[in-house]
């Protein structure tokens, strides 16, 4: 009852003119950035961040959340129409969406994608809202050991899910954790790794890490690729129509809808399992276990619905741990966390426990529902216009993105040092991409590192320097055991692959081609 009352108040806030305006702007921006390869919804929330500095916290988070939601949907248009996946999570849509589009015209697969985004978004938002209160109650009972263990779990799953090489993911994570050590230590008040540079005393700004690695790094990468997009349509070929599937057709694939909604929502909660992983897993599950698995890849609705539901459902799944535990599970939620911190608000269980900030949480939760419905309604019309952005020359878009990154970072504290930091992290981001090191572990390490360290040190102080305390407490022990499994599985798989290659090269080659 408490939740419903809070949600009703939240809806009332969302429909206030300014909040509503930000929601609509967010939806339109999300679609705009998600159809462009090289931009994407993470870049969208990063570029929008400077505009939130002077806003109240509610419209600021509503704007970013709406970009995130609609960003998981907008890319389906260019994927289905022109075989241009705007985002990595759109790649599975190529296999059935584009194929169906070629066979029956693009209106039908676009209709399926719209229905999938709507269902995925609403189901996961409902499930997550229902879980908000219980999760907060659990988190309120956390002690230092539990928090430390939760952070370790978050970081290990990020490592486990980040790319093909656990070695590279761990190195990326360590670098992020070391970046978080720069500055004055919050427990002992000692300067660490500042090298006599005064600006480093405040530590590295989160915005600089995010904007540098995801924003500028991506731009540098695309410069190296020659700023080309394949399959760009001619000016006359940009036409979009959507035709909705019938109820009977939707009912036929109810199993796919249920499975993908559940998997998408659940995986969304797991740190590191972003929209891309969720989308691929949902498609993979249908391909393995779905009733129409043999038809997948030939332009079947299940092949469109599963990945699209997975992508959109993961957003609500990501937002809730960030709101209730203060643990972001993806790059986009990390930016949203940064927006909270820039407004002087620390997300976590106290956010919902505190009556003053409770309404903010419910407004954000209510905005998730409105965003999902809004993106389907607005998308229906807006996408006809926005798809023309593909005709804009890449050099122009690139210049705009660079300017937003640099000036946006400067706007945070009016500090040139922050702009230098962005260039440094842009270079690191580019080198990470070049050498195939995953970005997410470093970014999440930089964000979660201080929380993990503070709780670890607090636990050591409380337990008289007994470092085993987190392992012996029931909840933290269980979380650390899960972390160990999450860590061991990919590492053992890599070792197994290496052993196989070393001693049975023909089997390894067979597996390589098979996968």
């Amino acid at each position: 009852m408490d939740v419903l009352h809070g949600l009703a108040l939240g809806f009332a806030h969302v429909f206030e003119p300014y909040d509503m305006l930000m929601l609509v702007v967010g939806i339109m921006t999300g679609m705009l950035v998600s159809i462009m390869p090289g931009l994407g919804f993470v870049m969208g929330v990063i570029l929008a961040l400077p505009f939130t500095y002077k806003m109240q916290i509610e419209p600021a988070i509503i704007l970013l959340t709406a970009i995130y939601f609609s960003g998981t949907y907008g890319g389906c248009f260019t994927t289905i129409l022109y075989r241009i996946p705007g985002e990595p999570n759109d790649v599975p849509l190529l296999w059935d969406g584009y194929t169906m589009g070629k066979r029956e015209g693009p209106a039908k697969p676009l209709g399926w994608a719209l229905v999938a985004a709507l269902i995925g978004g609403l189901v996961s938002s409902t499930m997550m809202v229902a879980l908000t209160k219980p999760l907060t109650d659990v988190a309120l009972g956390f002690n230092s050991e539990d928090y430390f263990a939760a952070i370790v779990l978050g970081l290990t799953t990020v490592v486990a899910l980040a790319g093909h090489s656990p070695t590279k993911a761990i190195i990326s994570l360590c670098l992020g954790l070391l970046v978080a050590c720069i500055g004055v230590d919050s427990i002992f008040g000692v300067s660490r790794f500042t090298f006599g540079v005064p600006i480093l005393g405040d530590g590295v700004q989160l915005v600089a890490v995010l904007v540098g690695m995801y924003g500028l790094g991506e731009v540098f990468k695309r410069l190296g690729q020659g700023l080309t997009i394949q399959n760009v349509p001619g000016a006359g070929a940009v036409k979009v129509q959507t035709s909705f599937p019938r109820w009977r057709e939707i009912w036929k694939i109810r199993g796919t809808i249920l499975r993908s909604s559940a998997i998408g929502t659940f995986l969304g909660v797991v740190p590191g399992a972003g929209a891309t992983i969720t989308s691929f897993i949902c498609y993979g599950v249908e391909k393995q276990y779905g009733r129409d698995r043999a038809k997948l890849g030939t332009g079947h609705p299940s092949g469109i619905v599963a990945p699209q539901i997975g992508s959109t459902a993961s957003v609500a799944g990501h937002l809730i741990p960030m709101l209730t535990l203060g643990i972001p599970g993806s790059a986009a939620t990390a930016v949203i966390l940064a927006a909270f911190l820039l407004h002087g608000v620390q997300p976590g269980p106290m956010l919902l426990a505190n009556p003053a900030s409770r309404i903010t949480v419910y407004t954000i939760l209510a905005s998730m529902f409105v965003s999902v419905i809004g993106m389907c309604l607005i998308g229906y019309f807006w996408i006809r216009v926005v798809v023309r952005v593909l005709l804009v020359p890449q050099y122009l878009l690139n210049t705009i993105v660079v300017m937003f990154c640099l000036v946006g970072a400067y706007a945070d504290r009016n500090s040139m040092s922050d702009v230098w930091m962005i260039l440094i992290f842009g270079l690191i981001g580019y080198l990470f991409e070049k050498y195939k090191f995953p970005l997410a572990p470093m970014v999440l390490g930089a964000i979660l590192g201080p929380i993990g360290e503070n709780n670890f040190m607090r636990s050591m102080i409380v337990h008289h320097d007994d470092w085993t305390a987190p392992f012996t407490q029931p909840l933290s022990g269980a979380l650390l055991a899960i972390s160990a499994v999450a860590f061991i599985v990919p590492v053992s798989r890599a070792v197994q692959h290496w052993l196989q290659w070393r001693f049975r090269p023909e089997a390894a080659a067979e597996r390589g081609t098979g996968s």
Partner: protein, 177 residues
């Protein structure tokens, strides 16, 4: 062959060296751990050790592991999303231009520096309509000045001497006081 191995080794050697360097720096913090009493160096040292061990694993993997792990050719769909790097020199031009821009910003002021930087980025990005380049750069610079000064309320750098006068004149023109 040697070049390929060296290329694969380089990132791990760099991270190993970094781990060693930072571990030694952690020993020089104002307060350090004593036996039975952890200090502010404990956490960074733990991470440095983890980084060093992982880097060593990476080095062993690069020396004795399969080459195709690092250079796996992405499938056709992934290639659509992220084509291979064909113009590495443009990356360094872009970074260089960005570095010069950041260094020049306090001296030239936002408007002049951004106009020049936007022109450079457009040319690096491949625009070759020489008459349009300064005009588009001017349009972008004006738009960013208006957005950040009148919407986001950021105090942008004015520059020094003549550049300051130019910045002030432009700001007056767009109604910023």
């Amino acid at each position: 062959m040697v070049v390929t191995v060296l290329k694969r080794l380089t990132p791990y050697l760099v991270t190993l060296a970094l781990a060693g360097f930072l571990y030694m720096r952690a020993d020089q913090f104002g307060i350090v751990s004593l036996p039975g009493r952890p200090g502010p160096d404990l956490w960074p040292k733990l991470i440095c050790v983890l980084l060093a061990v992982t880097s060593l694993v990476g080095i062993i993997g690069a020396l004795f592991g399969p080459a195709q792990v690092d250079t796996a050719v992405a499938d056709a769909d992934e290639a659509l999303l992220s084509p291979p790097e064909t113009h590495p020199h443009l990356v360094w031009f872009g970074m260089g231009a960005t570095g010069v821009y950041i260094a020049a910003l306090p001296w030239l002021g936002f408007f002049v520096a951004t106009e020049l930087f936007a022109m450079a980025l457009l040319v690096i990005g491949g625009m070759r309509r020489w008459i349009l380049v300064p005009l588009i750069a001017l349009g972008l610079t004006s738009a960013f000045t208006i957005i950040f000064m009148k919407v986001v309320y950021v105090s942008l750098p004015l520059g020094v001497a003549w550049f300051k006068l130019i910045s002030l004149a432009v700001f007056r023109l767009i109604g910023v006081h």
